[in-house]
Symmetry: C2
Subunit: 599 residues, 2 copies
């Protein structure tokens, strides 16, 4: 129990210093225990072993040299570790951001050129700035824009595109410049006979090594360590083993020269340089939409990973802090020759399964990568692209999820439609347009759903002061006056529906002289709603029908009083529907119940 | 009264033939009276006089030859007159669609080239096809996406861009190719001394003529016809008078040769040719987003004009029919060498003020334009671009509306923000991106508003079966079981908020064993909501907390039964909250009221 409340105090600290607000790691370190470090050391080492080949592979996917991927695991990863509120999240290069970078920057410069790198840098600083702007505007709720079907459709389509993009490397076929990855894949399938046998053999071998490690490493190691659990992270080191095997084979047999196997080549040693984004106004403007898309996807990924991992330990992730941390990480990426970063699902979950307790594991991982950059870069010279291609394909295959589509098909057809629509849009246009279209469809369907509020014509129950729906209750009505209750706020998505309903009522009732709009359920009116009310009032006035309001809530009344609408209103504003009807019944030329006498 | 019910019968016909459904003009003609024709003849003639100079001017704005504008007033205008449900609406070339066409097609081809025209044709057929697709999908509710602030901001920005685009013609300065209209305007301001004096004089003269006609034509004509009303449409013929004056001056003094005044040049005589869109798959794909934007704007404009004009006569416009009619008009535009068309606000309102009774006035206008195309095109040879520029500027100035912004600023700051955001986005990027950004902002704010549903922890009132919010009522609670009522449907926009709320409750209550989610106000759950519930259930199960559901509505239960969620649910599904709490209280290790005994 004391441990629980201790945990709880760590979870919800009553008073934090400013340092602790910006750098949650301070809070973490304050409660840090020696045994935590043992766990973090192991986890950090395992993550580093997984990170190095992935970082190099994703750099090539993004159209950047190998070192840019490793740089993305230096300062940006550490910045997130210091500032992020997700303790187990590992931030760095990820496949989908790499695809989005290559798809966007490819329009401006040749991949692997100096210009390309500087445009990527510009993109990263914009991503960082936009995320920090969102934090400043307290708009972390932007994650709500991405519904689950959009994310699933988007990730599946991105995975397909990424896999297609690696076929060239895996088969060792060089494709003449084409517009689309599909054309490229089609070309490769048509020219399989020209495949480089050594390259393709290396790819198959890498695949075999990775499958072997993931299936048999734990059972084999059990002969030595009998208590090894099934999910031990040693089964995730396949990419590193495949990398080593590939490098050794190429180096020993000089496959790059004798069989023309494409390899990574020279990777400069040393820590990241300081880089500056290019200062071209037009370019900054043009890159903004791309930066917004990458920022949105990066934030949603990072935040989703963080909340999923944190909730397993009754912890919370603070979305505003995540915006700040991820924004700072991206600015750091821009200044250190890297490219846009996000939370990596594979590395974060390896981090957790390897027993990470805190972000200190990320700092351990950082040291491993720093050591690699300082002393081991020559080893990657002979790393074949085919092995990197297989590593990329294997890692994005884990992202593919078609069972969600099946569930959505049964559970909610609209969501299945959104999922497939996003997927098709990404494959047909590109990642950005596809994402926009997916968001558009899901939001359009939401608006469609909220565009038809319930509207009821109400009448007096007996001689009471209560007014109810005329379709459900036996109430008193008049031909010359009608009261309509709008069951919802009046805003752009439903203003036309309300207008249509009101005009329909008028078209059906030729004796109508007074329309009372009962506003008791109206919580707000936006300017589209006001404009609609104004138009309805004006058009009805031309037909000799007065519009009155009743039961307007205080805040809505305050809002209306700032406008001319009240002055232009042909009728009055009544406190209650009862008052309105008593007043207007008296002007009745053809009362349905002449015996009744009201004040 | 009999006339009224006659009208009403015309308004809501009980049984319509298939012909009448597709061609509302049949219904109109069935009730057509001889005196209607007199009115329609006058209105049609006045509209034709206004249309001819506008059509030529907007064609140049779109980057097309003069005849393309006139063709847009032939078949497309007639198709709408036959099929549209807005009786007074005049469809044809409009300024904003022209701007959108030139902004989009300019990327693919040189303005006024053959290639440019064929791409425009492709765009028009796509606009038409998309509108008809929307009709088929019954998605006329798409108009709800465009809120009033977005429309106002968009139209103002478009008007500014259109005015800037005409400075070149008005001053007779030729600007070296630049990227943006602002750069062009800047260049012109810097080179005013190079302005063509004759051109600019013609522009000033045209402006004077138009102002004179609009101010003084009615007062002067009153000397002859004393009963002329102030709003007589004769004050709208200014553009035609200015056109005639310009043509005469240029022709008589050969200004095009002596002073190098740019003129329209040869306009081919004859009716529209049959044209075919280009069949290039890649181009069709790339133009789709543009076509969607133009279609959306065209439909919203046409529908808004239609509803505004119709409601003055207690008539309704059918949005689905409008989609069909406008779609067919755009397909017709594509096949007859024209470009995307929409309802024209200026011509429709002139049509009404000139006394149009039915769409027959549009057919009269059609005959006038056909006669022009057949016999009078040589007259336009000497029409100076400067006069067209002034006509365009004058007509878009009537679209500019900054008072709405002032009202929004007082009424609803968010709407003012959306208005200005859309305007700035259109001016900074382009019309399409600006419109998308405007829609995005207004929808994001709507989602933000709907992302925080009310959620209440509820407890039993006394020994009753009623459960109420613990913050408002004195109710019974337990440390090991908690009931939470979610006051709204569970879907992508609010799933995270609900998840955060639930996890927060758990983080604060260490003795919790059972969480009951009371679903009485939940009308639907989408797959993002389901995924969230699934994740919460799984994460809480890992912490030893069971999740139960209570009071699930029938349709939601049917939906849930199609999924595995119920099987994976750690707790049970109860019919009522009362049953749930009676059941779970019994497993209580630390009941707050041990005296109570339940079955």
């Amino acid at each position: 129990m004391s441990d629980q409340s201790g945990n709880r105090r760590r979870l919800l600290p009553a008073a934090q210093s400013r340092w602790e607000t910006v750098f949650p790691i301070v809070t973490t370190l304050r409660g840090y225990r020696r045994e935590d470090f043992g766990h973090d050391l192991v986890a950090g080492t395992v993550v580093a072993v997984l990170t190095i080949p992935q970082a190099i592979a994703y750099a090539f996917l993004a159209g950047l040299p190998a070192e840019a991927g490793l740089y993305a695991c230096m300062v940006p990863m550490v910045i997130y570790a210091l500032m992020g509120s997700g303790r187990e999240v590992v931030v760095g290069p990820v496949a989908i951001a790499a695809l989005m970078v290559s798809s966007a920057v490819g329009e401006y410069a040749e991949a692997f050129s100096y210009r390309y790198l500087s445009i990527t840098t510009t993109l990263a600083i914009e991503v960082g700035a936009l995320l920090m702007l969102l934090k400043w505007l307290r708009m972390s709720g932007i994650v709500n824009l991405l519904s689950h079907p959009v994310i699933v459709g988007f990730v599946n389509a991105a995975a397909i595109l990424i896999i297609l993009s690696q076929l060239e490397a895996v088969f060792g076929i060089s494709v003449p410049g084409t517009d689309s990855l599909f054309a490229e894949a089609f070309y490769i399938v048509g020219h399989l006979s020209e495949a480089n046998a050594a390259t393709f053999s290396l790819a198959i071998l890498a695949l075999g090594v990775m499958l072997f490690v993931s299936r048999f490493s734990v059972p084999l190691l059990r002969h030595i360590f009998p208590s090894l659990p099934d999910a031990h992270p040693v089964n995730r080191v396949g990419p590193m083993v495949a990398t080593i095997v590939g490098v050794v084979l190429v180096a020993v047999f000089s496959l790059d020269q004798t069989y023309d196997v494409r390899v990574v080549g020279a990777v400069p040693a040393g820590l990241p340089p300081l880089t500056w984004p290019v200062l071209e106004f037009q370019l900054w403007i043009e890159l903004l939409p791309t930066a917004a898309m990458i920022g949105l996807v990066a934030f949603v990924e990072t935040y989703s990973i963080g909340t999923t991992l944190a909730s397993r330990h009754r912890r919370r992730v603070n979305p505003d802090q995540e915006l700040l941390a991820l924004g700072a990480a991206n600015v750091a990426a821009a200044l250190t020759g890297a490219y846009p970063v996000a939370g990596s699902f594979s590395r974060s979950s390896v981090n957790v399964s390897a027993g990470a307790r805190t972000n200190v594991s990320t700092l351990v991982c950082f040291l491993g990568i720093a050591a690699t950059l300082l002393w081991f870069t020559p080893l990657f010279h002979f790393l074949p692209h085919a092995v990197l291609g297989v590593i990329i394909i294997a890692s994005v295959l884990t992202l593919v999820d078609f069972t969600a589509l099946r569930h959505q098909w049964h559970f909610n057809r609209r969501d299945a439609f959104i999922n497939v629509g996003t997927l098709v849009a990404v494959l047909t246009f590109d990642v950005e347009a596809g994402l926009v279209i997916g968001i558009f469809i899901s939001v359009a369907l939401l608006i469609h759903r909220s565009s038809r509020p319930h509207i009821a014509i109400v009448g007096r129950i007996g001689t009471s002061e209560h007014f109810r729906n005329i379709e459900r209750h036996d109430v008193e009505t008049f031909p010359h006056v009608i009261a309509v209750r709008i069951d919802g706020s009046i805003y752009f998505a439903n203003a036309r529906h309300i207008e249509n309903f009101l005009m329909q009522i008028v078209a059906e009732r030729w004796e109508l002289e007074h329309l009372v709009i009962v506003c008791s359920p109206v919580n707000f009116i936006d300017s589209s709603g006001l404009e609609m009310l104004d138009r309805v009032t004006r058009n009805l006035a031309a037909l000799g029908i007065d519009v009155h309001l009743a039961e307007v809530k205080g805040p809505v009344m305050d809002q209306l009083e700032t406008t001319d609408f009240i002055r232009r209103l042909s009728g009055k504003i009544y406190f209650t529907t009862d008052q309105a009807m008593r007043d207007l019944e008296n002007f009745s030329p053809g009362k349905s119940d002449p015996s009744e006498t009201n004040v």
